[in-house]
């Protein structure tokens, strides 16, 4: 009797779940499936479940067209560079700041900690326009046609997309919380062996902080790969354009559904790959952010 009721409930449970999976996965399945189809076939398949499935006459034509029509590879390299450099520098700079705040006593420490917590509540959207104004007037040294040239602004550069995002109050906060739980005994033992503060940071604390390094990397990686508003403001030319602005412009200029879907699929692959490999860390980083906030 009991098991019968249980079986009925679990049947309902899986029916509900199946429905929800279609809703949550359907749009992305549609995107990937359509990227291999010709436009007439996409429209034809709309009337059935075929829309979500890679069936029928499939080809890589859309992908070829996208590469032929836009410098997608260049945008990819730009986004990769911006993302990777920011993640590496961000992990270093933010963990160092957190170490200084958590492991060293110094004058001004409390004030700086309060300042960083205050910065947490300022959304980037508030800063975007004045920051654009500032970088528009900063001189930069560029490299053009084989020689160094001094340009009048940071617009259209890669560094303008990196430098503002390396230091991140939220990441400092994450590291700070994590360092609290690394026992001070480890520091003391190293100090007796004659280690200085920097070597305690580098050889004791950081090797014990792998989970939070993963979390901070993921937070920075997602934020940087998905950059949209900022490059919209400061990047006008193609040379330093990142992928998200690239796809938005492509989308605005074409009526070819399949090609846009191919572009969208390509842009999604790096994040999806990272997600599949680091799933546990993704989940933990989100859950951890929630519990600690």
């Amino acid at each position: 009797m009991d098991s019968k009721i249980e079986r009925k409930w679990s049947l309902i449970y899986y029916l509900v779940m199946a429905f929800l999976v279609v809703i949550f996965v359907g749009p992305m399945a549609f995107m990937v499936a359509s990227s291999f189809k010709s436009d007439p076939q996409i429209f034809e398949d709309l009337r059935s479940a075929r829309a979500f499935l890679p069936v029928g006459e499939l080809s890589l034509d859309n992908y070829r067209a996208v590469f032929a029509k836009t410098p997608l590879l260049l945008y990819f390299v730009n986004s990769m560079l911006i993302t990777l450099i920011t993640v590496v520098l961000g992990v270093l700079v933010n963990s160092m700041a957190a170490f200084g705040l958590q492991r060293v006593h110094w004058r001004g420490q409390k004030l700086i900690l309060a300042l960083i917590l205050a910065i947490l509540v300022i959304p980037f959207e508030v800063l975007a326009i004045p920051l654009m104004m500032i970088v528009s007037q900063l001189p930069a040294i560029g490299f053009e046609a084989g020689q160094f040239v001094v340009t009048g602004s940071w617009f259209n550069s890669l560094h303008v997309q990196i430098i503002p995002f390396v230091a991140n109050a939220f990441c400092i906060f994450l590291f700070y919380q994590f360092f609290k739980d690394i026992p001070l005994d480890l520091d003391d033992a190293a100090r007796i062996d004659g280690a200085g503060l920097f070597s305690i940071y580098w050889r004791i604390v950081m090797p014990n902080a792998k989970p939070v390094i993963a979390t901070a990397s993921i937070v920075l990686f997602l934020a940087m790969w998905n950059q949209y508003l900022w490059p919209l403001l400061v990047i006008q030319g193609q040379d330093t354009r990142p992928v998200m602005v690239g796809i938005q412009q492509f989308f605005g200029r074409t009526t070819a559904w399949g090609e846009v879907m191919a572009y969208a699929t390509l842009v999604t692959i790096p994040v999806l790959t990272a997600f599949i490999f680091f799933q546990r860390q993704f989940v933990q980083s989100v859950a951890g952010a929630g519990l600690k906030g």
Partner: protein, 351 residues
């Protein structure tokens, strides 16, 4: 005991502090200062101090009665359909000089007279309304969806980690990509949503103009945003659910509480801190709505999806009026800060 060293303390913090000064503190100060000037993005003209003029232009409201259109003999004119005709704002005489820069925000009839609320920047007020409308819709819908999903994937049945991963997957696809894909889904004539609804309702050629109608555009963006973001809050709720002591559930069961009573008396109180956090972070994110609007509707139709940030970027960047755009951003910041503080206070008090 931590070692005392002013030198090392500052050295460790210095790179982050220098960068935060450049990327946050300086622009924040510049933002506030700039809003008191007539700074433009690329302009040879000199920058002048204009005091509160930008804020006055943003926030000024007026009110006026709109008289009927009269012919030379002083009789009211009527349209061909027999409706009375009203004067336009410019025709009203005598017009007070300070009203010259006002536009009609909203006109309404009261008795047999027509009145109008005026604003110097009607789009700002519409954007403010749209932003609040979006927040009011997306908060309950997204949080209930997320909590529902969390409860479902928290059930002790096989496959739940797979479901968790699948519901979370839209979060890792970028908002830009999601907005583009959903623009296709919402397409009037060839959108998957209209085709599927057509199949269900039996209307082959159902053509609802989701993003092209003033009434449906914002709710459509709400649905798309919920789809993209709910998985994130689901994970946070899930962590909260798993931190609730299971003995509480056992005790409630022994007391004869049914599933619904257990939800309201054990689950919800146990999620209090999580709820406050999720509420505040989702509210802040919702107030900054921009990408979806920029890609899916470009603020339209008729500014019905223009949000505060969209309006700030449109004026500050696309129209190069940076001082005015920054003023909108400052007003937005005060609004977000106020709402977050209020939620924090209410959340704290309830406990």
């Amino acid at each position: 005991m931590n070692p005392r060293s002013n030198k090392w303390g500052w050295l460790f913090a210095a790179p982050a502090l220098a960068l935060l000064f450049f990327a946050v503190i300086l622009p924040f100060a510049v933002a506030v200062g700039m809003t008191l000037t007539n700074q433009r993005l690329l302009s040879p003209n000199e920058v002048d101090f204009v005091g509160g003029e930008n804020y006055a232009r943003l926030l000024s409201l007026g009110f006026t009665e709109i008289p009927l259109k009269l012919d030379e003999g002083g009789n009211p004119l009527v349209s061909s359909a027999g409706e009375p005709l009203y004067q336009s704002l410019r025709e009203i005489k005598p017009s007070p000089p300070e009203q010259a820069s006002f536009q009609i925000l909203k006109a309404f009839d009261w008795g047999d007279k027509r009145y109008a609320v005026l604003a110097k920047d009607p789009v700002f007020w519409r954007a403010l309304f749209n932003t609040l409308y979006f927040v009011a819709l997306v908060l309950p819908i997204q949080l209930c969806t997320a909590l529902g999903l969390a409860l479902l994937v928290n059930a002790n049945l096989p496959g739940r980690t797979t479901f968790r991963t699948l519901f979370f997957s839209p979060v890792v696809t970028s908002m830009v990509v999601a907005a583009i894909v959903w623009t296709f889904l919402y397409n009037e004539n060839a959108g998957l949503i209209n085709r599927l609804l057509g199949l269900i309702t039996g209307q082959e050629n159902l053509a609802i103009n989701w993003l092209g109608s003033e009434a449906l555009a914002m709710p459509s963006i709400v649905i798309m945003s919920t789809w993209q973001g709910a998985g994130f809050q689901m994970l946070i709720f899930l962590a909260g659910l798993q931190s609730i002591n299971s003995e509480l559930y056992e005790a409630a069961k022994l007391d004869g509480a049914n599933a619904i009573q257990r939800f309201f008396n054990v689950t919800l109180p146990g999620l209090k801190n999580t709820l406050v956090f999720v509420l505040i972070s989702t509210t802040i994110a919702a107030f900054s709505l921009f990408i979806q609007v920029d890609i899916m509707t470009n603020g339209g139709p008729n500014d019905s999806t223009a949000t505060l940030i969209f309006h700030a970027i449109r004026t500050g960047y696309r129209e190069q009026d940076v001082a005015y755009g920054a003023s909108i951003a400052v007003v937005y910041f005060i609004l977000v800060l106020g709402v977050a503080l209020l939620q924090n206070k209410l959340g704290g008090r309830r406990g």
